[in-house]
Every structure is written in C-alpha cells, then in structure tokens.
Amino acid sequence: MTASPSLGSPIERSASERPSIEFDHASFRLNGRPLLNDLVLSVKQGETLVLLGRSGSGKTTTLKLINRLLLPTTGEVRVNGIRTSDWDPIRLRRSIGYVIQDGGLFPHFTVERNIALVPRIENWPRARVEARVRELLATVGLNQDLASRYPSQLSGGQRQRVGVARALAADPPILILDEAFGALDPITRSEMQKEFRALQQRMRKAVIFVTHDLREAMLLADRIALLEEGSLIVDLPVAQFSRSEHPLVRAYEEAFSGLPDPE
C-alpha cells in the first residue's frame, strides 16, 4: 500500500505539522439562508474526524466546501494550505476520495470500470490500472470475479465496498464520506465499520466522516465535531466527547443509550 504522497510520517502529530483541511471562520448562505455559521475546524493527515449532527445541521454542506462543490460565502476553506477558491477544481477533486451512501456508482459501468474511473482519467497506463483494481478489490474484501458485474447485480454491502474502493483508487491523501454506511443492514454495517477502522489505521489518510449515528462516531473517530443548525457545538477527541457535560452531547448519549455497546 503506497503511503500518502507529501506529508511525512503519519504517526507523528507535531504542532508544526500543517493540517490537511482547515475551516477558517467559514460560512455558507444559500438565498439568504445560513446553512453554516463561522466554522472553525481542522483535520490533520492520519486523523479521522467525525462530523456528527442531525439532518439539516450543516454536515453535508461542510463536506461540499472541502471538494469545492460549494464555495464559502465568507471566511476561507483551505486544503493543504491553499484556499479552495485558488485550487483548480478538477485537480482538487481528484485528490479527494468521496464516498456517499449506496456508493453513487455509475450504473452503466462495471465494477472494474467504476473503480478505475479516476486512474483512467488521470491517464495511468493500462497495466497499472488493472493491477490497482485487483489490489483494491482485495483491500475492500471483494471477490475478483465481481469486477465484471454491474452495480445492480451487487448487494448493498458489496456496492458500498466498491464505493470505498473507487474513492481509494488514485490513492488520494484525503477521504470524505457522507453517511457512507447509512443504507446498510446492522450486521453488514458493523462489518464495514470495523474494516474501515482497520483500513484507516493502515493508510493514515486525512478522513472526514459524516454521520448522525453516535455509536458509529465513537467507533471510527479520533475526534468528533458536533454540529447543530449550522454551528459547531463541540470539537473534542473521542474520549473527552463521551465525558462531556454539554447538554446536546448528553441528549445524543441518551438517545443512543439503552442499546448494546458496540465495543
């Protein structure tokens, strides 16, 4: 597995290390309505930040500001120290892996072609592309003979794995996932969470994972950022988060209490 390209040993978290993703008082308004207010947040290489919050809390807006599907109305969003508005959008997006619910796979492409999408448009030589696809299928735990199937012929769990493989294909340093495991049944979901955790520990990318599920957040996060109505409520390492006395955190804990601890 190739290491991420430019940012030094992933285990060290020295203070001088520049974050991969930074939100510097970023706000976003649509038609006058504020969707995100004055967000201050950062994610370092090797770190997994979970954005937790209800529907409408601004989680998806936050993600879209990273890959420049949206531009901030005020404030700045920086990736690798460069403002998103200064990045070439195509180059920016190709260095960010994006996984959405149910994979967002192209229905008219085979699994192999879906995964190979970014490498192909980056003009990788054919042999390298083929080898990479085989490698990724193994990484996400899929059988090689699924390569020639179409998404409609796969189960939900298989599709999600292909979605992850596709996002990883060009080995981007940053991964953003939007409720990626939300549409799966509990057992498959649990499997995927565990496998993803293991993957992240190997690859050490900068990961932002969006979910509304507290248990998933607790399992996958290094840090949790709680959003409510477009504003950041708390931003804490996972251990401190569960001990927080903030009323909204309490409310979440209660909503998820009484259910078996996934650990």
Binding site: G104, F106, I121
Partner: protein
C-alpha cells in the same frame, strides 16, 4: 390483376419511390439530430435558453405541414428544388422531439450519480460524454424514433410539392381514381414506419436498460 401482381409488375418504380422516400426521411432526420441533440445538450447547460428553444421548436411543430411547405416555396435556393425544401421542412418538424428528449433524458439522469462524478473530478466534458449521455441515451433514441416515424409520415405529403417518394403514388392514384396505385404508396410507407419504429424501439430498450442497472 390483384394487388400483389400489380406490385410485382411495377416493382422497379416501387423500389425507386421507396428509396426516394427513405432518403427524404433519413437525411432530414439526420440533419435534425445533428442540430437538435447538441441544442438539447446546450439547454441543459444554459437553463435560461430552455424556454425559448423548446418554445421555438414547439411553434414550428404547430404550423400545419403543408403550410410550412408553402412558406418555404418562395425562399431563394431552398424553394428552387423540391428535394431541398422537403428535407428542410421535415428536419424542422423533427427538431422538437429530438431537442426535448435530449433535454429530458439528461435532466432525468440520477443527480446523485452526476454529483458523484463531479465530486470525483470529472470535467464537464467527461461528465457529459461518459455519464450523462450514456445514461440519457435510451430517452434520446426514443426521440430519434419519434422523429423518424414522423418524418416517414410527413414525407408522403412532400410529394404534393414535387419531392417524390411514396406519396407520389398516393397522389397519382387519387388523380387516376385507382386504388392499387394508392395502396402501392400507402402500404410501403406504413411498413417503412413500422419497421423503423420496431428497430429503433429495440435499440431504445437496450440502451434504456443501462439506466436501470443501479
């Protein structure tokens, strides 16, 4: 003699007129596709143009076909040869289904798929060629099918202004008060339309199944 004998006796002429008819309908549909499909793509990119473009094509369709032929007759160059005039008029008529279906087909592509494509860093051109057009192709071909069938039908009227084709049999048969001659035009024209509809329908279904593979 019965109808079948009549057709055999005059098979050379039937063949001639059928080929004329195919050329009239085929060239005009092709022209309309070369203009209409790019226009349909354009109005998905520039939404404020969609109303005027679709509106314009709709107005052209509303003009009665014979009246449209009449309007174009005095035009320089176009009006001098019935073949050109007919092909232009037929192409104008075929525009609406092509523009509209291209537009609807692309608009109808699952927005999540398009957004996923954009988020992965596909350029606008790559999105169009690799995602939107292939997924819209079933509906676009449906537009081609409608345009083709309409052209084959309208081409029979083109004989009234001297463009030839199977309509000529129909008009001549009317003047001769001879049913066999009328049918010698009407039946092949109907068969042509049915055949085109069937073949393009098959292609449409095959392409449409691509959309639903998700």
């Amino acid at each position: 003699m019965n109808f079948w004998q009549f057709m055999m006796t005059n098979r050379q002429q039937v063949l001639d007129l059928t080929l004329e008819h195919i050329t009239l309908a085929g060239v005009s549909t092709l022209l309309a596709a070369l203009v209409g499909i790019p226009l349909g793509i354009l109005i998905t990119r520039v939404p404020r143009l969609s109303k005027p473009v679709l509106g314009g094509a709709n107005i052209i369709q509303t003009i009665p076909s014979l009246a449209l032929f009449g309007f174009l007759l005095p035009a320089p160059w176009i009006g001098e040869r019935a073949g050109r005039l007919a092909i232009l008029a037929l192409a104008l008529y075929a525009l609406l289904p092509l523009i509209r279906n291209t537009y609807a087909g692309i608009q109808g592509v699952d927005p999540a798929v398009v957004e996923a494509g954009r988020a992965m860093g596909l350029t606008d051109r790559q999105l169009l060629l690799q995602v939107e057009l292939p997924l819209a192709s079933g509906i676009i071909v449906a537009g081609v099918r409608i345009a083709t069938v309409v052209s084959i039908g309208l081409a029979t009227i083109a004989a009234a202004i001297g463009a030839g084709g199977l309509g000529e049999f129909i008009f001549r048969g009317l003047a001769m008060v001879n049913n066999q001659v009328i049918l010698a035009g009407a039946i092949p024209a109907a068969l042509l339309a049915l055949f085109a509809d069937f073949m393009l329908g098959r292609l449409e279904r095959r392409l449409g199944s691509l959309r639903s593979k998700s």
